[in-house]
């Protein structure tokens, strides 16, 4: 969370000549991130990001204490001035009754008091400071609760005493379905297990730690208030606040475990403000119920450990001085430092490493040297064994063949999930039904991209990503797939197959087979050494897609080349045209031709037209120049075999 604080407000508790910019820089480098310093009227406004472990810094006083500790490291004079918290005078005359029944599993500490007040506008100073900090000014009574929260760092609440419906409050957990109307007029049905306060008539009068309710809120007619400070069990607050979507600043602070010691400081400071700005008069005893007082803990760290982690020669006395300034009572004996953890840091500090962080950050990360880790044991690296190597190679290849790479979501809607939706890996808490299932195939996502770009007739897309396959009792298998899509006014099976063949060739894979799809669809399964390696599917005259098992491809891929000695003797080259019956496959023809002579060194399909197939042949010997007679003999043998085995005749 971010908070905004005026420089003049901070300097009420921090005595220093340092300009705002300098303070911001010092805090950013050693403590908490001041994201911006802006001019604000005649003042400066800090915008500060508070990390979840440092709710103690979400206040003017907390920041002043921290700044006082770190500015010295930058040779800037600065002194923290703690707030004055006078005990109020005991009420004279008849005391107003107030009873609070706590549940210590829900609330760690409650401080409260009843005051007579007059409702009016806040003084300009409070209005301005609240406005700068991003809180709307309403009236003096409400403003003081916010002003105290920002100054001391503990959320506070105020009830109209006369609207409480009695003189006692009871803290309890809500039941599911109980309804409340918050002070902004919105009705909520409680999820159950929320911390609430109820009155004598069993009516809920507060959603503790999150927001006040309409039935007990202060109005212009209010004469008496209960100033009420509750230090809560943080997980209850988080759960309720998220479930109801009420993210007030009080909720955001309360879910971070605020120091319960602050509950009394906030009360006292608030009373002093009500006395000063609301004609306040204390009319009850001060209530302080404190069942869960944290124990003080002590953490030790050795000089050796400090220096080894930081990588710089920080001495133990330097370390002790830093911790003392941060509010830790410290003792040093020999090589070991013992620090007592102050209450406002008790949720955050527990082990030696935590102390090292405190020491290192104030010492200054910018003062620590920068060096590369020393060389380590040599381990062999063979690119051939790395799937990343092949992934990069395939992606580049596809790029240079005109493919554009896309990244689509792993989560898909039901409409494009392939397979039985009942057995799909489903998200328990999807953001929307568009991203509800973990996909089992890539191609539907590519088709969706195509539809999104429907004004394009020509496109080639690919993606390499995991798909997920459910397994009982274990994590799903993550299978890396290469998906491709080709669209053009005219496209056919061979266009897709050619891409896969060429990719395999570059990978050094020679055993790829294509067999017609067994069930439905036009296309082929791709087989690699008897394993299914994916498929090509002809979607229409103008669209085809393919999806390949990339891990299998990478497993068979090799950087070794199958080298053959080049013959000294030139090849004899010729093209032969054949008339082929309709149902004869290319593969059948090739295997007959190739069987006829070892001198046929190269054979390829040159042209395909009607029932005519033209093949290109090269005859070559390693031992001698072939004669026309020898080649003629082989050719005759080829024609004869084709005729007798496949009823194929040479074309005249």
């Amino acid at each position: 969370m971010n908070i905004q604080i005026l420089d003049s407000w901070l300097k009420e508790y921090l005595k220093t000549e340092a300009p705002a910019k300098k303070i911001a820089e010092a805090l950013s480098l050693t403590s908490v991130s001041v994201e911006r310093v802006e001019k604000w009227k005649n003042d400066h406004l800090y915008d500060i990001e508070i990390t979840t472990n440092r709710p103690d810094l979400a206040s003017v006083v907390g920041l002043a204490r921290e700044a006082g500790a770190v500015l010295a490291e930058f040779d800037i004079k600065a002194e923290f001035i703690p707030p004055k918290l006078p005990l109020p005078q005991k009420p004279s005359g008849q005391k107003v009754p107030l009873t609070i029944i706590n549940d210590s599993s829900l609330v760690n500490r409650i401080t409260a008091v009843v005051l007579d007040v007059s409702v009016r506008k806040s003084p300009a100073l409070i209005q301005d400071r609240l406005e700068a900090t991003g809180i709307r000014s309403l009236n003096n009574i409400i403003d003081i609760t916010n002003y105290v929260m920002r100054t001391i760092g503990h959320p506070t609440h105020v009830f109209d005493y006369d609207r409480l419906g009695g003189t006692s409050l009871k803290i309890r957990e809500s039941k599911r379905g109980e309804t409340i109307i918050t002070l902004d007029g919105k009705q909520h049905s409680l999820p159950g297990g929320d911390i609430v306060a109820e009155n004598e008539n069993d009516e809920i009068v507060d959603l503790i730690g999150i927001m006040g309710l309409a039935n007990s809120v202060v109005t212009d007619e209010t004469k008496r208030i209960v100033f009420f400070i509750d230090n809560n069990e943080p997980h209850h607050i988080r759960k309720t606040s998220m479930a109801l979507g009420i993210r007030t600043e009080a909720a955001q602070l309360n879910e971070k475990q605020i120091d319960p010691e602050l509950a009394l400081e906030a009360l006292l400071y608030g009373i002093s403000l009500y006395l000063e700005f609301a004609d306040g008069k204390v009319v009850s005893d001060i209530i302080d119920i404190y069942p869960n007082q944290p124990k003080t803990k002590t953490v030790s760290v050795s000089e050796k450990q400090v220096q080894a982690t930081i990588g710089a020669p920080v001495s133990l006395s330097e370390a002790a001085e830093i911790l003392r300034r941060l509010g830790f009572p410290v003792g040093v004996s020999g090589e070991v430092l013992r620090a007592e953890v102050p209450s406002f840091r008790s949720a955050d500090i527990g082990i030696p490493e935590d102390l090292i962080e405190e020491i290192a950050r104030v010492y200054g990360y910018h003062n620590i040297p920068s060096r590369l880790p020393q060389a380590t044991t040599l381990r062999a690296y063979n690119p051939e064994d790395s799937i990343f190597y092949w992934e990069k190679r395939a992606k580049e290849m596809l790029k240079y063949w005109g493919f554009t790479e896309v990244y689509t979501y792993s989560m898909v809607p039901e409409e494009i999930y392939e397979g039985r939706i009942e057995s799909a890996l489903a998200l328990a808490n999807p953001l929307s039904s568009d991203m509800a299932y973990m996909r089992r195939t890539l191609v539907p996502s590519l088709l969706a991209v195509m539809r999104e770009n429907k004004q394009r007739e020509d496109m080639r897309l690919f993606e390499i990503a995991n798909i997920y396959e459910k397994q009982t009792g274990d994590l799903p298998r993550h299978l890396l797939r290469l998906g491709g899509l080709m669209a053009a006014p005219q496209i056919n099976f061979q266009d897709g197959k050619g891409i896969i063949e060429q990719l395999a060739r570059d990978f050094g894979i020679r055993q790829l087979q294509f067999v017609p799809l067994s069930a439905g669809g036009i296309g082929a399964s791709v087989i690699l050494e008897e394993q299914n390696c994916g498929n090509i599917e002809v979607f229409s005259d103008s669209v085809l897609d393919f999806e390949l098992d990339f891990e299998l491809l990478a497993k068979h891929a090799t950087t070794r080349k199958a080298y053959q000695k080049v013959s000294k003797y030139p090849p004899i080259v010729e093209d032969i045209a054949l008339k082929v019956p309709e149902d004869t496959s290319y593969e059948a023809i090739v295997s007959v031709i190739q069987r006829q002579s070892p001198l046929i060194r190269h054979l390829s399909l040159l042209d395909r037209y009607g029932d005519t197939r033209t093949f290109h042949l090269e005859y070559q010997s390693d031992e001698k120049n072939l004669t026309t007679e020898e080649v003629t003999a082989i050719r005759e043998k080829i024609f004869q075999s084709l005729r007798s085995q496949l009823h194929i005749f040479p074309k005249k």
Binding site: S28, L29, T30, V32, S33, V34, E35, R36, V37, T52, R54, R238, K239, M242, E255, A308, T309, I310, G311, E353, D354, E357, R361, Y365, H366, I368, P369, S370, L372, P373, T376, T377, R379, K395, L398, K399, Y400, W401, G402, T404, E405, V406, Y409, S410, L425, A426, L427, A428, N429, L431, M438, A448, V449, E452, N453, R456, R460, N466, K470, L475
Partner: protein, 355 residues
């Protein structure tokens, strides 16, 4: 001596015709006419046996000379006319070429900016001995949170921030979820027990979020170094090396205090802004909108928490380590000046074709 005269006159005739010829085609014709299979010289040579025996040798010699002269003349002329013809052709070609017309290009597709970034990051870290790995995206709670020292009730573990899978939880490892960070790979890497470690884990990660700076699926790259005597200084050096390599030698790095469950101390890593060069203000005096006071947040880092080492079977008394986790999209957008991180997941070709 009739034949001698005929030979000489044939020679003169042939040579003058050859010299007059303008094209290779004419010369081919002359070649046929004189020295071809049925050319006039060939015919004359057939008369040779009829010459009286005492003159035959002399005439024979002459005939050979004539043949050589004609052939040489033909060859020279052919060479010249061919050269001439080529020169003419080149001249026409030159007149026909418009060098300003576009070329005939081979196909060229596009790699996604995320891929470009991943490849670059991989190369940069492999130079200093990091090995790239990839660990599960669908993960058990234990690897994603528990072993990383997240308390049971930590907000990141609730339904509002992390995606859960509707499957039965594992008896030991808890619920099944989509890992929200590559840090789960730290645990898997350390459990392999191959010391020392220099890991670069790049993988898809998922968070239940969607706004200007967040998408539900994104990529992170995580470094993990575990060895004896690893300190904050080693982390600083590695971050500096990466930033200077990826963004440029003029960019500066700083680490600031931050908070993560699985590192202690924890840092936020910033680099100087490329737009205002770290000044926070543009040359015209305007405040730089891209950065915060001259700095851009890049990601998180820290020294591996002793509980994380212990949970992964590593002895924290012997070993220490550092880790960093950055968003791939984040570094790519910072480098390329994209303002909305969601743009990077646009599947509009008009967007993708710019990369």
């Amino acid at each position: 001596m009739e034949l001698e005269k005929e030979l000489l006159s044939l020679k003169n005739n042939a040579v003058s015709l050859i010299l007059d010829a303008k094209t290779p085609e004419e010369l081919e014709e002359l070649k046929l006419q004189f020295v071809g299979r049925s050319g006039s010289l060939t015919k004359l040579l057939k008369e040779l046996p009829k010459v009286p025996e005492n003159e035959r040798r002399e005439i024979g010699q002459l005939a050979n000379e004539v043949k050589t002269v004609i052939e040489e003349a033909l060859e020279r002329a052919l060479e010249q006319t061919t050269k001439h013809r080529q020169a003419e052709r080149l001249l026409t070609l030159k007149q026909q070429i418009d060098v300003t017309e576009p070329g005939n290009t081979p196909p060229l597709g596009h790699l996604h900016p995320v891929t470009e970034a991943i490849e670059e990051i991989t190369e940069i870290f492999s130079h200093i001995g990091f090995t790239r790995v990839r660990y599960p995206e669908i993960e058990w709670d234990w690897y994603a949170f528990e072993a990383l020292n997240f308390p049971k009730n930590h907000p990141a573990r609730d339904d509002w921030e992390t995606f859960f899978i509707r499957e039965a939880p594992h008896a030991t490892y808890g619920p099944m979820l989509l890992t929200p960070h590559t840090s789960s790979g730290q645990i898997r890497e350390m459990l392999k027990a191959e010391m020392p470690i220099r890991m670069l884990n790049i993988a898809k990660t998922y968070r239940r979020q969607s706004d200007v700076s967040h998408v539900a699926m994104f990529h992170q790259f995580e470094t993990l170094v575990v060895d004896e005597k690893i300190s904050i200084a080693d982390l600083k050096g590695t971050l500096d090396y990466f930033v200077k390599s990826y963004f440029g030698a003029d960019r500066k790095t700083r680490i600031r205090p931050y908070h993560f469950q699985f590192t202690e101390p924890s840092f936020e890593v910033d680099i100087t802004c490329g737009a205002c060069l770290g000044k926070g203000r543009l040359p015209d005096g305007q405040e730089c909108k891209l950065c915060k006071e001259g700095w851009l947040e890049l990601g998180g880092a820290g020294m591996v928490h002793p509980n994380v080492l212990k949970n992964s079977g590593v002895d924290p008394d012997k070993y220490s380590g550092f880790a960093s986790g950055f968003g791939v999209e984040r570094v790519a957008t910072v480098k390329n000046g994209l303002e909305d991180i969601r743009d990077i997941y646009s599947t509009r070709l008009s967007f993708l074709e710019q990369f």
